[in-house]
Subunit: 200 residues, 2 copies
């Protein structure tokens, strides 16, 4: 590697670290002081090269306007809801226990603001590989396709089941022979389970 290419690396690393620590990028002089370059002009030339090479973007004459064009891992951010109280919207402030983040690629292309998570209670879906205590990530929607796993409100309680609908009759099927399907009235679909996370 050329000597100057090493310097380019050093400068890029310094910018990354500085930005991470400070919340804003360094100035040319701060860079010069930290990569063993006494000339501000040299710094500028390196930054021009870094920009040309696509590692950063700058805005002329603006201070600290180094924008790292980093390839961040895309994530989604969603709340974990606790007890779902009757009558309240699921995503009501009071229900939210914490917020979590996971890579978008783990759940498919859903809108951030329509996702939430729910801790699964009971073993009624155990044959679908959903255990007591698992975290279900749910996409809010009013209907799901037959055979999909849905979160539904049954008599003011949230439940996770396979969803089926024949001629306007809704039934929720457990994945456990010990339980009976739930049929009929007072069932409203809240969302579709798009992922399961289990801490072991």
């Amino acid at each position: 590697m050329k000597k100057s290419e090493q310097k380019m690396q050093d400068i890029l690393s310094f910018i990354e670290e500085y930005t991470k620590n400070s919340g804003y990028p360094p100035t040319y002089r701060e860079i010069s002081a930290n990569v063993n370059l006494k000339s501000i002009n040299s710094v500028k030339k390196y930054l021009d090269r870094l920009e040309l090479a696509g590692y950063i973007k700058k805005s002329g004459f603006k201070s600290r306007s180094i924008d790292l064009v980093k390839q961040e891992i895309p994530t989604v951010n969603f709340p974990v809801v606790g007890r779902v109280a009757a009558g309240q919207p699921i995503l009501a402030e009071q229900n939210i226990e914490e917020r979590l983040v996971i890579s978008s690629s783990l759940i498919g292309n859903y809108d951030d603001s329509l996702l939430f998570a729910l801790k699964v209670r009971g073993d009624s879906m155990i044959d679908a590989g959903i255990n007591d205590g698992d975290l279900a990530i749910v996409h809010s929607q009013n209907t799901v396709e037959n055979g999909e796993i849905a979160v539904a409100m049954v008599e003011d309680k949230a439940t996770v089941k396979y969803f089926y609908k024949n001629e306007d009759k809704i039934s929720l099927h457990p994945a456990n022979p010990l339980y009976q399907p739930i049929e009929g009235k007072n069932i409203s679909v809240v969302g579709k389970v798009v992922a399961i996370i289990r801490k072991i």
Copy 2:
């Protein structure tokens, strides 16, 4: 809410959005232009208040030195390994297919650099709620406790099983009556399964 408190909110929101979009914070003048304040001095007073209230940190006389003291959600970052080639270290560059991120709270307090993920193949752990295609998050370690779920190398292939050890005899137990336990020689523990993620 007082009128000035609303303005404080507006300014904070603008800073957050600007920083997210640009990679660096706005100047006082950019703020003033975007929150309907014609006086730079007013901006400064609001920023002083925001700092006093703990929302931001500033460094005197530094340009664009607004540091948002956001409460970020802690995450861990780990690679997904594909085929594990014989003889190679699991985390070898060639094995890594992508990198993922999830909230730390989803897996417990493990060291970032010792985590990796592995796609589970087969249904030998189905009664433990681990399905074909599930992603297992693994903490690299050379030994695990009896009864824990381990990733082990058996004849140069990675497998996920319950781990048991009696008087130096290691056995790997599937969670599926259709499979037999694996015993004996040529078994080396690679890590412990700390979480399971399933995309549905």
